[in-house]
C-alpha cells in the first residue's frame, strides 16, 4: 500500500489536474476524485472546505508546477531577449505531445466553466494566466526597445501569446489532434518574427 500519511491532499490535487483537464470541472464529481486519488470523502473534506475550494487549490497547484517547469526550461539560455521569446514559443509548440488532455491547460479549461458561477475559481485561473504572461513581458519590452518596435504594449503581446495557445488547445480538443494547434503556434511565431523584423521571418516551414 502507498504511504498514507500527509499524502491525501497532494494525491487529490494531482487527480484533479488530470481528471478536470479530461472531463471538465462540473462533470468531475468529488467521489470520482476520491476514487482516483485512493482516498475517502472524509479526507477530501478534511483538506478542502468544498468542491469550489478544491478548484481554487487546483488552479494554484497548476500555477506552482507550471511555473517551475518554465523556470527550468532551456529557452532562458539565449542571450538576446527576442531569441528567448521565440525560443519560449518554440518550447510551447514542442510541449504539444501525447494525449490531448496531457498538454492542454487546466486553468483555461476551468475558467470557461466557472467564470460566472464560481468567482473564486475564475480569479485563481485569471491570476495563473496573468502571472505566466508576466514572465514574458521583460523580454518583450527589451526586444521592442532594441528594435524600436511600437504601436502596442508588451503586456498585450504577452497576453496574446496566451490567447493563441488557449485557442490552439480548443482546436486540438475539437479535432483530437495536435496538428492544428501546432500550426497556430507557427502562425504566432511568424507574427513575432515579422513584428521584430527577425531574419528568419521568411524561412518558416509551411
Amino acid at each position: 500500500m502507498p504511504p498514507k500519511n500527509q499524502q491525501a491532499r497532494a494525491r487529490l490535487l494531482e487527480a484533479a489536474r488530470d481528471i478536470i483537464r479530461a472531463r471538465g470541472f462540473a462533470a468531475t464529481s468529488v467521489d470520482e476524485l476520491c476514487r482516483a486519488a485512493g482516498v475517502t470523502k472524509g479526507a477530501f473534506f478534511h483538506h478542502f472546505a468544498s468542491k469550489e475550494a478544491l478548484g481554487v487549490a487546483a488552479a494554484e497547484y497548476w500555477s506552482e508546477t507550471t511555473s517551475a517547469l518554465f523556470a527550468a526550461a532551456p529557452y532562458h539560455a539565449h542571450a538576446d531577449p527576442l531569441d528567448r521569446f521565440l525560443a519560449y514559443l518554440e518550447f510551447r509548440r514542442e510541449l504539444l505531445a501525447g494525449a490531448v488532455s496531457q498538454y492542454t491547460c487546466l486553468v483555461g479549461t476551468m475558467v470557461q466553466e466557472t467564470h460566472e458561477s464560481a468567482p473564486a475559481i475564475r480569479d485563481a485561473c485569471a491570476r495563473s494566466i496573468h502571472e505566466h504572461a508576466l514572465t514574458l513581458v521583460d523580454d518583450i519590452k527589451a526586444a521592442m526597445a532594441a528594435r524600436r518596435v511600437h504601436g502596442f504594449s508588451a503586456e498585450s503581446l504577452a497576453l496574446h501569446t496566451q490567447a493563441v495557445l488557449q485557442g490552439a488547445f480548443i482546436l486540438a480538443k475539437a479535432q483530437q489532434s495536435r496538428d492544428l494547434a501546432a500550426e497556430s503556434v507557427d502562425h504566432l511565431i511568424r507574427y513575432v518574427r515579422l513584428l521584430f523584423n527577425h531574419p528568419a521571418a521568411e524561412e518558416l516551414p509551411a
Copy 2:
C-alpha cells in the same frame, strides 16, 4: 416535411445557447433548461433523446444562426479579397460587446467539456468551427495569390483566426472584460497586415 409549431424545441435551443454559454454544458441541468424555456421535462425528452442529443442540436442551431449572421454582415461588400478578410476580422472585434456570455462562442465552450466524454457533441462543435473557417479560405487564397504570399496554407490561417478568437474569449472570461480580447484581435489584424504587406500595417492604434 419539417413538423410545424415546435415552440418547445426552439425555446429549448435558445435557452441552451444562453445558459450553456454562461455556465457550461455539464453544469446546466435539464430541469434548468426546461424552466428557462417554460416547458416541462416531458417536452424536453419528446424533442431530444437525451441531454447529449440536445448538445448536438444546440451546436447545429449555433452553426445555422451564426452562419446567417456572417452571411448578412457588411464585410462582404469590399471588392478586394484581403480587404474582405481584414473587414471580417474587424467585424469580429466589433462583435465583442455587451456581457461576456453574450459574445462568446457556444461550440468553443462546449467542446472543451465534451471532447472526451461526448464524441457526438465534440464532432458537432468541430464541424461548426471548421465550416465557419472554411468561409474565409477563398478570400485568403485569393489574397495569397495576388500578393505572392506563401509558406503556409490558407486553411491554416483561417483556423488560426478562429484559434485567436477562441483564446480571446477565454481571456475575456478570465478577466470579465472585452479589453484583452479586443487587443488580441488587434494583434491578429496586425499579423494579417504584415503577412500581406498591407499599407496600413504600421498605422494600427496601440
